[in-house]
Amino acid sequence: MLDGHLTDEFARVAALHRYDVLDTPPEEPFDRITAIIKSITKAPMVSVSLIDRERQWFKSCIGLDVRETPRDVSFCTHTIMQREPMIVEDATRDDRFRDNVFVKGQPFIRFYAGVPLMTPDGYNIGALCVLDIVPRRFSDAQITMLKSFAQLVIGELELRRIAQVDHLTGALTRRAFVAELDRAVSDYRRSGTPASLVMFDIDHFKQINDVHGHQAGDLVLRHLAMTCSDAMRTSESFGRLGGEEFALLLPRTSLTQAAATAERFRVMIEEMVVPGDPPLKVTSSFGVTSLGAGCITSDEVIAEADKALYQAKNSGRNQVVTR
């Protein structure tokens, strides 16, 4: 079961992306771990390396001046293909690495010890590694120590992931969703990359809670979230902004395209049957907007989509309004 995870590259990359950690700034918990390892091992280079589709990206890195490298020159891309640590005592004597650009040139790596960073569901998303410019050996005790630190790295990542997800629906929390929106806004300001925001709200949700109870209400929220998640593209983000209010962030999507997506979701929700006694049906109202001249901060984008949503509610509900 687990070994299938080593060869399922698509699922492995999806597992990495679920942590939403790539291209985030350096953070103390990871930097502390690499600093402690450096101090203990006296090695010049230590890194928390995450292996994306085409690149190796460092969440924390001591002794290297880069934040990322191409994947094909990465030692860690070999480490993630196995369950056990990978130790290369002298890279110049290893056929896999003797011609590596980082072995033949700066920083002239000779020694590498990497422990896979394995998620609780069994995917190796990267490696915690120690590198040196002289050949060396790691004792069993040192390898065990590195494995323990790798567990702590995964623990830190997992803690962040849990905190980003609303545990009732599995959608992003408001804070995590707004962080995604902030990134889209930055992209728009930097390169004009379009993005659209769809906000929607379940119509008459209070009545469901009042008439059928909060458990039924929670079931509706979960069912709706599942329906939406199943219909989304991997590049899109889905968040729960409040009680029965949700949002979709659609990168590289124009207002017209976003309105079409919102309409598709509206119909899907309208047709959804929430199993129970009695089975329940709901509708939702949608507000859609895009990043643009009058919408260049996350707050402005949310406010604009919220106005459109309010208009949809006031115009009879179960409809899509764009602004």
Partner: protein, 78 residues
């Protein structure tokens, strides 16, 4: 520092004062405690002295404590 002292540091009340760790974070929290205990044993086996172990482990616990606090806050938001 011996493993027993670390275990006391890992006690939830020392981590977070009176704040109770929400159910959704409990598993992650338990795993972190286990990982720290394993780390202490590994550092001891690697020949580190108690002062270095205490410094390293305290740093790890301190940063986790901050992250856990933020995670708890985030879990309570909706």
């Amino acid at each position: 520092m011996c493993a027993l002292d670390i275990s006391r540091q890992l006690d939830v009340t020392r981590y977070m004062g009176d704040i109770v760790v929400p159910h959704v974070l409990q598993e992650s929290f338990n795993r972190h405690q286990e990982n720290v205990l394993t780390l202490v044993a590994a550092l001891q086996a690697a020949g580190l002295d108690d002062v270095d172990i205490e410094a390293g482990v305290s740093a790890v616990i301190e940063s986790y404590k901050i992250e856990l606090g933020q995670a708890i806050k985030s879990c309570l938001e909706i």
